[in-house]
Subunit: 243 residues, 2 copies
């Protein structure tokens, strides 16, 4: 069934009225009255609708069923990544959205090679990548892509979640599966991963002091753009969101 995000649609009285870009979308898909579509509000709710009227300007559809989008995981995962070089950001965004992340935030850390003066400038493009990936993978929300500032800013975001994981390659760490098994029912989680050069020791220390779980993801060294999607996948698997 065709499925698309709707923007600012009027869903009152059991009817959906689409105009502008949304009506255009129906026209492009050559959908006709009598056909069913799923309209997703981008907030995690799916409206299964049957088209009753469609012209160039306006589409009207009867709402048949309102359900939580089945693709949305039970846990809202915020991925926090030390800003990598080049277009690795794009890859991280696309794959984390597919894997089920709800929010992707980049930040500046000690060993970041990339040091953009104005990362805010990139946000629009990053957000578009998230939107495309959300549509393609059938998500119920468009995950937000943002900038968390410096390392302290990233920690500040992470400590507000039910579960905060700091993925680190060396030293004393908890096993990822032990931590996840003990936190299967969390509503929110943050995963912090590093840039190309990893984290400085003082950053790991700060994360520990802040109360995050310092976790290992095994002995294989993961690239900075691979670690986030592996971590999100492990979390989705452990919380029953990958079946």
């Amino acid at each position: 069934m065709p499925r698309f995000f709707i923007a600012g649609t009027n869903l009152a009285g059991g009817m959906a009225v689409l105009r502008g870009r949304d009506a255009e979308h129906v026209r492009v898909l050559r959908l006709r009255p009598g056909e069913d579509v799923i309209l997703c509000d981008g907030q995690g709710t799916d409206y299964k609708c049957r088209l009753v009227y469609a012209d160039k300007e306006q589409v009207e559809a009867e709402v048949i069923e309102v359900v939580p989008c089945p693709a949305e995981p039970s846990v809202a995962v915020t991925v926090l990544c030390g800003l990598p070089k080049g277009d690795k950001t794009d890859y991280i965004i696309q794959k984390c959205v597919e894997a089920g992340a709800s929010e992707i935030l980049f930040f500046q850390s000690d060993r970041c090679v990339a040091r953009p003066d104005k990362p805010e400038k990139k946000l629009e493009r990053w957000q578009r990548i998230a939107e495309e990936a959300a549509k393609q993978s059938g998500r119920g929300i468009i995950p937000r892509v943002g900038w968390a500032g410096d390392f302290a800013g990233a920690l500040d975001v992470a400590v507000k979640k039910d579960l905060g994981l700091f993925l680190y390659e060396t030293g004393e760490r908890e096993a990822l599966n032990a931590v996840l098994e003990a936190n299967k029912t969390v509503q929110s989680a943050a995963l912090i991963t590093g840039p190309e050069g990893g984290f400085a020791e003082f950053e790991a220390k700060l994360a520990r002091i802040a109360g995050l779980h310092i976790c290992s993801m095994g002995e294989r060294i993961l690239r900075c753009e691979t670690a986030p999607v592996v971590a999100v996948t492990a979390l989705m698997y452990a919380t029953g969101n990958l079946s």
Copy 2:
């Protein structure tokens, strides 16, 4: 500690003798007698060695310790992918090696858009990508990249493993976590994922008849290049190889 794969090295009598490319490697790293290195034989064994002699042609090192490479997972995972378009193969190879796969095989299936006459020609380049990824991620083997032929060829490989999973998007499927939880101690596993257009129904039927587990990876639609790495990660997590 510097770590590298060695080719055809003489490891007799508690001494490693490196010549040719391996000796050159030691020279490039500016390693001197007294320094320690890990020499990996590419078969899953690490030789911790101390250099005792190094010149342009030959390096001699005393073997201090012989251990199974800690980065190698307890399960040998063969990833079987319907041949995707363009350079998605490269991405699949790199990420699956990082995630812990032991073998990556492509095959031709009904909905493959890419139909190279001679995929064998690409094998050399694909194998180089696997080798680079293995080095970078500290693997103890260089995973083999190969061509499994047609869909029947892929099934034939999969049924020979302790556990065979066919990742499929629709219809009657087992939950991935249920299957993995029941098979935590397997020695070998095969994961079959599709090309861009997914699998035809008759292919899923054949896989079922062949005795593979037809599994879901949740409601989010994964791109053909994302599904293999997500599947390998889930398997590594479930078998205790991601901590």
